[in-house]
Amino acid sequence: MNRMPIGQYIPGDSLIHHLDARVKLIAFILLISTIILTDSVPGYCSLMVLTAGLLFVSKVKLKTALGFIQSLFLFLMVIFVMNTLFFDSAQPICSWWIFHISLGGMAQGANVVLRVIFLMIFSSVLMATTAPMEAAFALKSLLRPLQYIRIPTEDLAIMISVAVQFIPVLMEETEMIRKAQTARGAKFESARLREKAASVMPLVIPIFLGAFRRADELSLAMEARGYRGGKNRTQNKQKPLRKQDILALLTAAAVCFIQAYAF
């Protein structure tokens, strides 16, 4: 049960840990754009080098960064197969009814899968190196312009950071309920699709009920500790960006630029 939860902050002392959270968020967005702009083999190779460098600098273990693979494996497979089967290509290798298997389709599938994997690795690194409240604060300050169209950015930031920190708790609970329902004869492992689908309901309903109960208790606990919305709270002073923050930002922008034009 005590495997490393996905998206957990891991306190550390690396260069990335010490970067301003706002910088990390912007750099993250830049890197995502880089991933989306990449679609060639050399492009992916250079992304791989970039990832390795990032993991090295942030001292995040590869195991942590790839922790999601296990739970997303099926999802990735489905994406790949769907793309392979349904991608409309000029020269299919073989065709049957509505299915066309083609090299182009396979390439497209691989493309999407690789993008998701890189995206997950980058977000793992972001989450592992940024404390949740720090991230919430960064989010709040980046969303500040939205205040002018009356969006409560403070509440939004708190909501997101609280929600994120409940992911491991809910996943543990899901696992527990799954086991409990298996013990009562639910057929999650069944090969027959009908039985598999029927077993989803007894899993989903308790999870939702549990989540609502947790939310209720958490809101009581937050209120008991004096939470009354985003206003009247201690405002973290806006710290100016330091040299290394600006450097990191420039690096991310440069990587994005080079990646987009070179490959």
């Binding site: 609280v162 606990a221 008991a224 500790r225 009354r228």
Partner: protein, 345 residues
């Protein structure tokens, strides 16, 4: 010298008398306030139980703190959860009075209304009927609700559902930030709160990686950071293993003894209530009885009526009595039981 001692005793007894009159009106109604109170009144004020040690407990508890301040002062509180027009009262005309620095246990069967009652203390439920003052603030006054919640902290049952951050120091800072604490003061307040629960050095840990007892102590530290006068524990030990329960109870007792916090403890475990100064027993939304642990926990009939099980030493006492072995006093703790058993020879 002798005169001084007499004076101290007289003051303590007079204090106890006035406090007793507030807390136990029925036992004190026969005594005129004008009469000079002296040690002769002790057996009478104890009512039927005629037990001097009970009164001494009260005097001790009374003399320990200046008991004029009342942390909780509630009269005629009634509450019903609206359920499709049903008018089942979860609380039915409850009056409760808790002195500053007192440790009070509220015991009761599931659904007896004890959780509903304490949710009023923190203004998490608004008063439907009756009056309630918490730390001198009117719980009905919605303008000062935030002041009230600062004075009265609350630790809940499930440790996992109380954390807003996955880092200990951020979670403790959450409460402080809600009260607009200057950012420079936050780190020192966080480490003070952690020291109070004996968990210094856990600032950068993740609550999810800690044991149940440690999680609850972190939740307690989050409450303590706001320096409340009253701390309510709403079955905070119910989900813990025996080891964690012991950790939390030891911490609670230390806060009561050293920090002089008013403690309100809701629990299923009679063994925890033994350490309280006073116990309230609730049943069906009413207060069934109140008194010192020695009065309440040794009363088999009363506990049976409230559908509670007496603590193990008390059960052993009565079982031995059935078997013809009579101990001199009914023991409350295991140590007392051992002592009594040794005295048999």
């Amino acid at each position: 010298m002798l005169q001084n001692i007499q004076l101290v005793i007289d003051t303590a007894i007079a204090d106890a008398y006035y406090m007793g009159k507030i807390l136990y009106p029925e036992n004190f109604k026969d005594i005129e306030p004008e009469k000079k109170i002296n040690a002769n009144h002790i057996p009478q004020t104890c009512g039927e139980s005629e037990n001097v040690s009970i009164f001494c407990d009260r005097v001790y508890w009374k003399a320990k703190t200046a008991m004029v301040m009342r942390s909780i002062d509630g009269k005629g509180i009634s509450y019903s959860y609206a359920f499709e027009g049903s008018i089942d009262l979860s609380l039915d005309d409850v009056s409760i009075c808790i002195a500053q620095g007192e440790m009070v246990a509220i015991l009761g069967h599931n659904g007896s209304g004890k959780s509903t009652l304490v949710k009023h203390f923190d203004a998490l439920l608004s008063l439907q009927k009756g009056s309630l003052k918490v730390a001198g603030l009117d719980a009905n006054n919605t303008d000062r609700i935030w002041e009230l919640r600062k004075k009265c902290g609350m630790v809940f049952q499930n440790p996992d559902n109380q954390f807003v951050s996955s880092i200990v120091d951020e979670d403790i800072a959450f409460g402080l930030e809600n009260y607009d604490t200057p950012i420079e003061q936050i780190p020192s307040k966080v480490s003070e709160a952690l020291a109070l629960v004996g968990m210094s050095g856990f600032e950068k840990k993740s609550p999810h990686m800690l044991s149940g007892g440690q999680k609850q102590r972190i939740a307690l530290a989050s409450v303590l950071a706001l320096e409340p006068e009253i701390i309510v524990f709403d079955e905070s030990t119910a989900m813990l293993d025996p080891e964690g329960r012991k950790e939390v109870i030891t911490t609670i007792r230390r806060l009561h003894d050293n920090e002089h916090k008013t403690i309100i403890l809701i629990s299923h475990y009679m063994e925890e209530a033994v350490f309280a100064d006073r116990i309230y027993i609730m049943k069906n939304g009413r207060i069934l009885a109140q008194g010192t642990p020695r009065e309440i926990l040794t009363d088999q009939v009363l506990l049976a009526e409230a559908r509670l099980l007496p603590p193990l030493p008390v059960r052993i006492y009565y079982d031995l009595q059935k078997a013809g072995i009579i101990l001199r006093h009914c023991p409350l703790t295991e140590e007392e039981l051992v002592e009594e058993l040794c005295r048999l020879n």
